[in-house]
C-alpha cells in the first residue's frame, strides 16, 4: 500500500485505542479541518500517576491514523514525565518509518499528547501553539514549533520543515522566514556542539592534517609550494612552509588569512598558526 511500512498499514487497518476516555484526566486536540488533520487525545491516569487508558479520534490520512494509534500504545503505562519524552521521531521509528511527506503526522501525534498532558497538569487547554510569532500563516505554524522540529530531527531544508510541520506548503511566502529559522537553530546547534567539543589530541591532529590536505595543499601546490605540520600544542599549530612558499613575501599573509582561517572554521575558533622558519 503506497510507501507505507507494514506497521503503518497494520495500525491504519486495525487502529488501537480508538474513541474517547470517559471523564478523562487529560484532553488534547491539535490541528484543524482547514489543514486536513485533527487529532484528539484523551487519557486517564491510574492511582500511581501512570496513563491507564488513552484513546484517540482523528480526522486524517492513513499515516495520521497510524501515528495516533502508535502513540497511544507507546504512551500507555507511562507517567507524564515519561510520556512527554516521546518525540515525533520515536513515533515514526515505532511505525518502521514514515514517508518524508507524512512526517507531520508524527509531529501532530506528539503535539496532541503534549497538549493532553498540559491539560492534565494545569486544567487549561493548550495555548502553546499560539505563543510566539506565526511564521506560516496558511497552516498557522509558529516559529517555536519550527525550531523544535528542526532541532529534534536535525532538519536542514525548507522542504523538510514543510514535510514535518506543513509550514510553507501552501502559498510559499514564508519560505524565506523558514530558512532564517533553520539557520538560527543550526547556529545554536553548532555553537553548542563546538562548546561540548571533547576532541583528543590525536583526533585534533588528524583533523588538522585533513584540512591541510584537502583545503590548503592543493592551492599551495599550484604555486609550487607545500606545508608541513610540525607540532600541535593545545590550540597552537606549528607549521613550516616549503618549496615555492618558503621565503615568499606573501607567506605570512597566506598563513594567517588562509591556513588559520580554514583551521578555525573546521577545528576550533581558538586556533593560532605559527610559522617555524
Amino acid at each position: 500500500m503506497w510507501n507505507y511500512s507494514e506497521r503503518v498499514v497494520d495500525h491504519f487497518l486495525h487502529p488501537r485505542n480508538v474513541g474517547e476516555v470517559e471523564n478523562p484526566d487529560g484532553v488534547g486536540e491539535v490541528g484543524s479541518l482547514a489543514c486536513g488533520d485533527v487529532l484528539r487525545i484523551t487519557f486517564k491516569l491510574d492511582d500511581k500517576g501512570r496513563i491507564a487508558d488513552i484513546r484517540f479520534k482523528t480526522f486524517g490520512c492513513a499515516s495520521a491514523i497510524a501515528s495516533a494509534s502508535a502513540l497511544t500504545e507507546m504512551a500507555k503505562g507511562k507517567t507524564h514525565a515519561e510520556a512527554e519524552e516521546i518525540t515525533n521521531r520515536d513515533i515514526a521509528e515505532y511505525l518502521g518509518g514514515l514517508p518524508d511527506q507524512k512526517m507531520h503526522c508524527s509531529v501532530l501525534g506528539r503535539e496532541a499528547l503534549g497538549a493532553a498532558i498540559y491539560n492534565c497538569r494545569t486544567g487549561k487547554h493548550d495555548r502553546r501553539r499560539l505563543e510566539g510569532k506565526v511564521v506560516c500563516k496558511c497552516f498557522g505554524v509558529t516559529e517555536k514549533e519550527i525550531e523544535r522540529v528542526v532541532r529534534e530531527n536535525r532538519l536542514t531544508s525548507v522542504e523538510e520543515v514543510t514535510h514535518y510541520t506543513k509550514a510553507g506548503g501552501a502559498c510559499g511566502q514564508c519560505h524565506g522566514d523558514i530558512a532564517a529559522v533553520i539557520e538560527k537553530v543550526w547556529k545554536d546547534i553548532r555553537a553548542k556542539e563546538a562548546g561540548e567539543e571533547t576532541m583528543t589530541l590525536v583526533q585534533k591532529i588528524r583533523l588538522i592534517e585533513k584540512v591541510l590536505d584537502e583545503e590548503v595543499r592543493p592551492a599551495l601546490r599550484m604555486d609550487g609550494g607545500d606545508i608541513e605540520l610540525v607540532d600541535v600544542r593545545d590550540n597552537q599549530v606549528l607549521v613550516r612552509l616549503r618549496g615555492g612558499c618558503s621565503g615568499c613575501p606573501m607567506a605570512g599573509l597566506t598563513l594567517k588569512r588562509v591556513v588559520e582561517e580554514k583551521l578555525r572554521q573546521a577545528v576550533s575558533r581558538d586556533i593560532v598558526v605559527e610559522d617555524m622558519r
Binding site: 480508538v18 479541518l33 486536513g36 485533527v38 480526522f59 490520512c61 491514523i65 511527506q101 506548503g169
Partner: protein
Amino acid sequence: MKERVVYLDNNATTRVSPEVVQAMEPFLGDMWGNPSSIHTFGGQVRQHLGHARERVAALIGAEPEEIIFTSCGTESNNTALKGVMLTRDPGARLITTAVEHPSVLNVCRYLGSVGFQIAELGVDGQGHLDLQQLRESIDEHTVLVSVMWANNETGVIFPIREIAEITKERGVLFHTDAVQAVGKIPVNVQEVPVDLLSLSGHKLHAPKGVGALYVRKEVKLVPLLHGGHQEGNRRGGTENVPYIVGLGRACELAQKHMEEQQARVAALRDRLERGILQSCPGAQINGDRTQRLPNTLNVSFEYVEGESILLLLDQLGICASSGSACTSGSLEPSHVIQAMGVPFTAAHGSIRFSLSRYTTDEDIDYVLQHLPGIIRRLRRLSPFVKE
C-alpha cells in the same frame, strides 16, 4: 492477492481496448518502416498514418490536415498555448480558468514568468464560469482564451459553444483542453468553432504516449518541437506510428460507443450516485449534476479524509482517486475543489469515481456493498462526528 479489481478511475487512465491492441500489432511487427521514407516499404506505413488522422479528425468533425499528432495531452496543451503566444510579443494576454489541468495552468504560469499577461478566472460553487466576467476580461492585448471542455475532477462541462461565440466576436483565439470530453460526449469543431483542441489517447482506451492537437487551418503557431517536416512542419520527430494507429482505432471505437456512454454508463453512474447519497451519511456531490460528463462522479464525505477512504477501497480492489491533500503529495486539497469553495470539512474527503464502457452493473453493486461500511468506520474515528 485481491480477488477482483473494480476500476473506477477512468479519468486518470483507461484500459487499452483489445481492438486497439490488435490494430497496433502489425506496426510493432513487420510494418516498421518510416512513414516519411520514399520507398514502398516505408510508404505503406504512411497510408495507415493517414487513416489514423482521418479517424481522429472524424471523431471531432475536423479536416485530417488540422490534426497534429503529439505524445500526450500535456504536449498538446503546451503546443497550443506556447505555440500561439510565442507568435506574439511579451505583454500579450492569455485568459484561462483556475480549474484547468496542471498541463494548462503551469504552462500559463510559465508564460506569465516570461512576460506574458495571464488571467485566471474563478468558478462558482457548481464549478461554472461567469461568462460576463470572461467577456469583460478580454481586452485589446488578449490573444488567446483557454478553457477546458470538461473538468477532469468533477466532470463539469463548460459552455464551450458560448465561449467560442464570445471569442469569435472579440477576435481572439480559443483553445480548449478536451482531454476528458473527447470520446465521452459529442465534440464537434464544426458545430462549436474552437480554434485549438487538445485530446489524449489514454483517456479513450488508446495507450499512453499519444495525443493530438486540432489546429484550425488559418491558425498560425510556433512548433514546440522544432525538427523535421513531420506533421506539416508543426511537430518535428518521426511519428509514433503504432500508437497513432491505436489512437485512430480508439477514436473510431469511441464514436461507435458514444450512445452507450451517454446512456448505459450514465445510468450506472447515476445509480452509484443515488446509492451513495442514500447509504453514506454526510455525502455530497461536487459540481453541477446537470452539466456533467456521463462517466464522472465527484463526491465528498464530510468529516472523513480522502486518502483513508481510497486506501480502504484499495483493500477491496476498488480503484478511485481523491482530491484530498494527502493523496496529491501536496498539503492542500485539490485546486478545483478549493476554487469551487467547497468547505474544508468536505474538501479533504472528496473522492472521484470515473466509469468507462467496461464498467459493469456488478462493479457498481460491489462498491455500493462496501463503501457505506468504510465511511461509517472512518466516521467513528473522526473527532467531528458525535456517536
